[in-house]
């Protein structure tokens, strides 16, 4: 199995090999992996890779995937042009 060719986060082009390497280096929760690999920071904000990464973390830590926390969801949920926010008349 070539883990380099298994894409986990397609927004930021992160492979299964990258995830496993991060886990082995000691980054064992979603927030840490996000900070080092940028998973969940692209256009879909983690909606696509969330489940796959959760499962990998669970497998590595030998816990139930339901107990693995994902990253903190922050506004905005999709890309907004900064100029449009700056020009917004809204208070």
């Amino acid at each position: 199995m070539n883990k380099q060719d298994i894409i986990i986060c397609r927004c930021e082009d992160v492979s299964l090999a990258d995830i496993h390497k991060a886990l082995e280096m000691g980054y064992r929760d979603f927030e840490s992996i996000k900070r080092i690999l940028r998973v969940g920071m692209g256009p879909c904000q983690g909606q696509t890779c969330e489940h796959l990464i959760k499962n990998e973390i669970a497998r590595f830590n030998k816990v139930n995937p339901e107990t693995v926390k994902i990253h903190k969801t922050r506004p905005l949920i999709s890309g907004v042009v900064l100029k449009d926010i700056a020009e917004s008349q809204d208070e």
Binding site: N2, I6, Q47, T48, T67, P75, I77, E87
Partner: protein, 361 residues
């Protein structure tokens, strides 16, 4: 900032039904929809629905969308925003909306989140090759845009979406080479699976996709057999030539708005992932913020419609708006939900709701 009695995010079956009931109760309603038309997933569902008459059984999905949209005709207090994405939700019920390069704010006295779900993906070698799609995406391409996804297709997953989209591919003149399912049981209704069988589609059980092969785009896939512990069985790899692969392995609730607003979320695998903790009134842990439809747990459009009506009714009730038939409607709707979730097909959702603490038995 524009203030409304109710802002609904998502114009699918749940959002449309919530709007109707809330309008009947006299609320001013804004309905925010990301796509260029209302109806959500219904508009690409060319098959006739199962279930009961009260949820439009025997009617095709896109016709149900038409019915629900028409029901909103003539309400002066309804505003519909199309191609508008709600990009933020805050605890004071302020919503930020992005439409046509304009960024603006709404505030609802109450808010209903009916954002639905997105497709889950699978991890296998070369899973980023062009020609690999989600089954829902294929249904959108075919039934909304009239575009063929390929000349032949392998489907992964035997849930109702996988089965129904396979059938619709055949209707569109595309060869479905086979359907692979990792479990030992068909996930969706047997009547759909039988239909495929009769048309000569091979259904390969205990099988999963191992690898995709192709230079510029998908050319071949490799499948592998699984044992009862979901481990690959050696020497069972099979190569299949195909230019399209359809992944239908479940949906995941679009939880982001509620997560960012700070609503308490629960992780329940049977419901598809992160769902908001809610009361039997469909209210989340943020007062006057409700959730209904697939975003509260993956089910069918039929239950999304009923949940939407309940959420609309409760949003109105908790702000003192009186629906003319509030009492009888509440009872009828709750009964309808129970009926929809009966039997072996409702087992997964019942199990999920039990885990979430929403039902007891």
């Amino acid at each position: 900032m524009i203030k409304r009695d109710l802002v609904i995010v998502g114009g699918g079956p749940a959002g449309l039904c919530a709007a109707k009931v809330a309008l009947d109760a006299g609320m001013s309603v804004t309905l925010v929809e990301r796509f260029n038309r209302l109806g959500g997933q219904l508009i690409k569902q060319t098959h006739k629905f199962f279930g009961s008459e009260s949820q439009y059984a025997k009617t095709r999905g896109y016709d149900i969308a038409e019915i629900l949209i028409k029901e909103l005709d003539g309400y002066g207090d309804l505003e519909v925003l199309l191609e508008a994405t709600c990009v933020g939700l805050y605890p004071d019920k302020v919503l930020t909306i992005y439409q046509d390069n304009h960024y603006f704010k709404y505030q609802g006295k109450s808010v209903i989140i009916a954002t639905g779900a997105s497709e889950k993906v699978l991890a296998f070698e070369n899973n980023d090759l062009p020609g690999i799609y989600g089954a829902g995406a294929v249904q959108t391409l075919m039934n909304i845009y009239g575009i063929k996804p390929g000349s032949e297709v392998v489907m992964v997953g035997s849930g109702n979406i996988g089965l129904i989209v396979s059938y619709q591919l055949i209707q569109a003149g595309i060869k479905v080479k086979c359907l692979v399912e990792a479990a030992s049981k068909i996930g969706g209704y047997l009547v759909h699976a039988s239909k495929l069988k009769r048309l000569g589609v091979d259904i390969l059980m205990n099988t999963t996709i191992k690898r995709a092969i192709g230079k510029e785009k998908l050319e071949k896939i490799v499948t592998v057999k699984l044992d009862e512990n979901w481990q690959e069985i050696k020497n069972t790899e099979t190569e299949i030539k195909t230019d399209a692969l359809c992944i239908s392995v479940g949906l995941s609730p679009l939880h982001q708005l509620m997560s960012m607003a700070g609503a308490k979320m629960l992780d329940v695998s049977e419901l598809g992932g992160l769902v908001p903790k809610k009361t039997c009134d469909y209210e989340t842990t943020i007062e006057h913020v409700y959730a209904c439809g697939d975003v509260t747990g993956i089910e069918e459009a039929s239950s999304a419609m009923v949940e939407g009506r309940i959420a609309g009714l409760m949003a109105a009730k908790h702000l003192g708006f009186k629906h003319p038939k509030a009492f009888e409607l509440e009872e009828t709707l709750n009964n309808q939900l129970c009926v929809l979730r009966q039997g072996p097909c409702g087992e997964k959702i019942r199990c999920g709701l039990k885990k979430a603490g929403e039902i007891n038995d």
